[in-house]
Amino acid sequence: MNALGSFEQIILFAVLQLDGEAYGVSIRENIEERTGRTVSIGAIYTTLGRLEDRGLVRSRTEKPQGRTGRPRKYYRLSAEGARDLRESYATIKSMAGGLTSELDRLAES
């Protein structure tokens, strides 16, 4: 299993949710909507590039549509990526089990 960093997990969840429509802008908006965190396009692409090198995502490019259209690179989760994400999430979940209320108490004290 490939160890995943927290930003990598966030990106992979966004790619999973966008289901074939994941490219820089849509991933950025998805993360912003769901986490309230602003991330840069460059950070998304460099992370996706790294994940692609490790075989966790696959990409396809689309040529620009019309005169003012822009090229896009769409990403999709690979089976290996899905397994790694599942494992990472399961690890976090099992570690956090029964601790959330304690965590809330401590954080707000």
């Binding site: 490219y23 820089g24 802008v25 950025r28 908006e29 602003t38 991330v39 840069s40 396009i41 460059g42 950070a43 692409y45 460099t46 996706l48 590039g49 790294r50 003012t68 822009r70 090229p71 896009r72 690179k73």
Partner: protein, 907 residues
Amino acid sequence: MAPDPSGRVPQPPRLLRLLVRLLIRGRDASYIVSDLDASFARDVERGLRGSRATRRYAWNALASVWSAWTAALRGFVTHGIGLDARLGLRMLARQPLITAVALLTLGLGIPASLTLVHGADVLFGELPVPDGDRVVGIRYFDLDDREPLLSSVRDYERWMELRSLQSIGAVRSYSVNVEAEDAGAPPVAAAEITASSFEVLRAQPLLGRVLDAGDERVGAPDVVLLGEDLWSARFARDPGIVGRSVRVGRTLHTVVGVMPADFRFPMSHQLWIPFRARAVDFPPGAGPRAFVFGRLADGVSVEDATVEATSLTARRAAEDPERFEHLVGQVVGMPFLLLNSDWRWQRDLLWEPEFVVMQMLIFALLLVVCGNVGTLILARTAARSAEIAIRSALGASRGRILRQLFVEALVLAMAATGLGLLLANALSSRLVHTLAGDDVLPYWAEPTLTPRVVAMALGIAALCAVVAGVAPALSATRRAIQANLQRGGSRSTSVGFGIGSSLLIVSEIVLSVGFLALGVAAVRGMLDDRDLGFDPDRYVVGTLRVPESDPMATPNATDSVAWGARVAEIQRELLARLSEDPAVVGVGMGVNAPGLPAPDRDVVLETPSEGFEPVGWAISILRVDVSYFAGLERPVSAGRDFTAGDVEGPPGTRHTAAIVNESFVRHILGGRDAVGQRFRYEARGTGWGALGEEEWYEIVGVVGTFGTNTGDPAQDAAIYHPLAPGDVNPIRYTVEVMGEPEGFVPRFREIAASIDRGATADSRPLASTMRAAFRRDAALLLLMLALAGAGFLLSATGLYAMLSFTVSQRTREIGIRTALGAGASDIVSTVARRAALQAGTGLALGIGLGWVLLHTSEFSGVSTEAGDIALTLTLTAAVAGGVCLLACAYPTLRGLRLQPTEALRES
């Protein structure tokens, strides 16, 4: 910036967009740029105001540039240089012999090449005081004599007018006897220091207080400040030391404080008393001399202070032209003041032509060493031609292969430099102390590595990697890939040892054999038990210094005649008391002592010796008391001994009688009768005022050769001049003792202390003083020997690598020749001809260089006598030739043992 009703997509500011396009590079650059634009357009569509959308775009763009660049850097390190470095490390581990030799040579060579810079950093760094760069020295520089001058008390009082300095101080060194239970305890380095100095240096005491202005008043109680080391050694760290009375020199002083161990200002001092001299007590230009220094006022630069010092000097020149016209006021770095150096700042020193030339020579030697490491790497690269060809065929560019080979060499050079620097750091303290001999290092000189030296060493390592790595790599990648691929299967390559590598091998053999000759001579000098004409193990040498005036006495102009008489009386008394001591066999007094270095001069004979030019001979000039030869039982062999009549007259009278040694008679006079001959000194020299250059001296006697220029017996001619007690202060006593000299050392001090408590006496066994005097040369020679040895090992390995390479290249040819009936001599000639030519040329030229070095060498312990030089060179040739032969032997034997069938099958 609302959405364009015409349907045009909103665009971010042009300049920002252009910057993003320029700065974002890499495989997804076009998508990043495009998505940044799209994000901006979406923000505008969502109704964000123009400035907010632009700010969001700017942040997004900057963060994207940062991500893209850090990702690119990470990739370069892990997949580019990092991969090459890992490959490099693997190659180093696979070829341990080549790696070890290259590590040894570069590890010694790179740090050694920075010795001069390191020395400058250590000796001429900043004082370890708060804001040490603001503390500067003030002095006059004599433009006629080209030397710096110490300041008089009056000068100090005038320097106080400088407004560029917020505080100013003065310090003056002397040595003094300090109370001890053991009367034979050595004297202590002490300083008279102004109370203001502690403000300049911002120094705080460990106990009690520092000196204050009240202590400087005439008639104030006598006080003293002790150093922590002295407080530990003599007073067992007595916590009640402050307020205690301690005998310093002739009088009792009250201790007012103890300074911490890291304060040893100005050099390595352990005791401070108030500086009470005042200009009013002395005529102009007279009185004690001191180092003057100050702290620059806020906002004042060194240049401002220099301008002010110059204008003050000009004012003084107007008042007293005779004394000040040829002087210039200088503001200098503190180490330059305290070491009395001609230079003013470290930058002057580092750009001094002599320094630059020396450094360039060292770098040139290093370049040769690098070139030879390059030869080794070339041999290694040659063996990898097939690998390089395959990588090229698979798409690696020439630049990519060059980078890999460069990084491999860089790994080697960096590893060598790292090891060398670690070793240097561990050894430099010991080495510096050895090189400095008995001269105690100033307290600010900490011989550890400085950041500049480390940075320079790493830079030089990178340059070495270029020389040793890129040149072979260029050679290895020059040929066509196809050719290398074809040869790859046959273990043969197109890489060769060209004229460049031959020249390198030869030049390195020349240099290393040359220096090896010096090394061999030094080793012979050390092993050689020469007859010095006396046995140093039976002697103690002691130095007696009578302080000009007791520093704590009321300052006053010294009555020079009375003082001279007092010095003479003490010196005479000590001589008499020593000769009466039951442990003493004989004693002589003089400026010089046998076995120790003495100044040398060229002489001109009134009647020149036929066919003999005495100029160029190092003739030692010694000054001794008239009873010296009788006292040490060295009777004259011709003529007469000195008599009291030879030194008659008031102080300053020139005494014309001289005694020469037998070596002088033999070498300079050509064996003639010496007595009655007259000579004078060449108008060049060491500034010895007592011996006029225009005066003629008459030889009245001849003595046996007695410990003159022991470093080089071929140059042991000497002239002795008589001196009267009191002429010179301090003065040395050479004492021949019964039993162990070590046992007499404290006795000497006890006797001196019993005559005058204020006079300081230092004594040591002569043999150890001689060793210390010559230790610097010995250490330098050993260092040179180590470098020459490493260089020689490298050239031998270069020969070995070249021969091994030749054998593996020509395996097929050798096989065919053997099959066709070639004899052993043909094979040897095929394999070793070139190596033999290189080794022979290198050896011959190296011996020539050795001859020149030995003839011009001024190292003590290296004989310049013709017979000795010939023997040294023969030994060097034998050692060097033997090593070359060994280096050639194994690959040649491998060539001889090749079986034709195997050779043909293998190739």
